[in-house]
Amino acid sequence: MIEFWIILIIKTLVVFGVSMLIVAYSTWIERKVLGLVQLRHGPMRVGWHGLLQPLADGVKGFMKEEVIPDNADKPIFIIAPIISIGAALSLLVIIPFGDTVTIMGREITLYLTDLDIGILYVLGISTIGSYGCMLGGWSSGNKYGMIGALRAGAQMISYELPMALAVISVVMVCGTLSLVGIVESQAGLWNIVKQPLAFFLFIICGLAEINRTPFDMPEAEAELACGFNVEYSSMKFALFFMAEYCHMFVFGTMVTTLFLGGWHGPLLPGPVWFFIKTFAVVFFCVWERSTFPRYRYDQVMELGWKVLMPAGLLNIVLTGLWMVIFNI
């Protein structure tokens, strides 16, 4: 009994530590890759090639003065970033990093838990995460923040539907909702081959969920002067920021589990392949940020409801027909 708890605590600490490190360094990756695409170097001074830059940003987050505007609704103003980061961190528990390994004679699973409703949990908790953005903008007492929050909320809930439809077709093919089951069913052939349309749908809707270009209207840096987090200063802003990058990392892991075959791969051990695929998706997120212009808000809504949702429904119908005809 006590052994179970010790293993659980150690696994929690390892997963949490590794994920926080990855989240902090994905800010470094983003700044470096954006810089190199724009023919400049990114951060170069703080440590070799800027590797200590996240540390410097963390120190800045602690040292800056916290400003709370007079118009702000104080309890909600303080709780909003907590909701955001809480939801983002709760998603770390079901990421399947690898298969079961045997360490020191004990079977240890390389994920914190394997819920039977796996992917539903992810969709549900990321919806709760959008509460943080909406409450943050609403409680700022600033009309630009409120507009940013409105847009963020509308965009996030209207892109959850096509994302769920894409996930449904994957679940139909794999037959199970649990993430470990989905990865294990891809041992022979990755889902991206079986479900290419769902892959595109999931990528586009995922980018919209994490408020990333071309859908970053809520935090449009040039237009709304940072949208819903306009009134937030040091630590609360750092929490929103970390929540966004944590969501991006979790998005990468979800794409890997659902479509790219999880931990399967030829020579290297499972977790190494998992991280290679996840970082490929994260690199793609940064790469497309540097390339695409931003959608206008009505274009975002039109894309979500008029294009992606019918595409999701069509995909489900086609998958169903395929499964019935070929008896898969």
Binding site: L36, R40, W287
Partner: protein, 160 residues
């Protein structure tokens, strides 16, 4: 009617309303990936510097001749022609000796680095060097007297 403009990358020859929206996305991604692997154009100051042209107008230098005396005869032409009046000269002449400046003060903050003093000097005694990055903490240190003017190259910033 689209004129031929100078784009970095022309993803679609057609007007936006009639265009295809998927292929241009991939063309754009390919272009940024090519840029990712290209050499960046940043010059890492202060370890690297740009190439300085020969006629660059930087800090002044008062030239000396072979015996180590200043070439300047304190005629006052550079002070007269200087647009912001940054040069102050106090000449001195002993009986039977050549004229020389007792005080020659250039206020480098007032100076606009036009080079007129260098063109006006009849003795070729003042020239503008290629030193462009002198920094200091107090305004008084920017008022150069003869000692500082004799050797401005020692003020080049080396990154320390």
């Amino acid at each position: 009617m689209m004129e031929k403009k100078d784009y970095a990358l022309n993803v679609s020859g057609r007007r936006p309303e009639k265009g295809n929206y998927l292929a241009p996305l991939f063309k754009g991604l390919a272009y940024t990936l090519k840029n990712y692997f290209s050499k960046s154009v940043t010059i890492q100051y202060p370890t690297e510097r740009r190439r300085i042209r020969d006629r660059w107008r930087g800090l002044h230098r008062l030239k000396v001749d072979d015996q180590g005396k200043l070439k300047c005869v304190a005629c006052g032409l550079c002070a007269k022609i200087c647009p912001p009046q940054a040069i102050t000269i106090v000449p001195y002449e002993e009986e039977g000796e050549t004229r020389y400046p007792k005080e020659f003060i250039i206020d480098e903050i007032r100076c606009i680095f036009c080079g007129f003093c260098q063109e006006a000097c009849p003795k070729d005694a003042i020239e503008l060097t290629k030193v462009y990055d002198y920094v200091d903490y107090h305004r008084e240190d920017f008022i150069f007297d003869i000692e500082k003017l004799k050797n401005p190259e020692k003020f080049i910033f080396t990154g320390k």
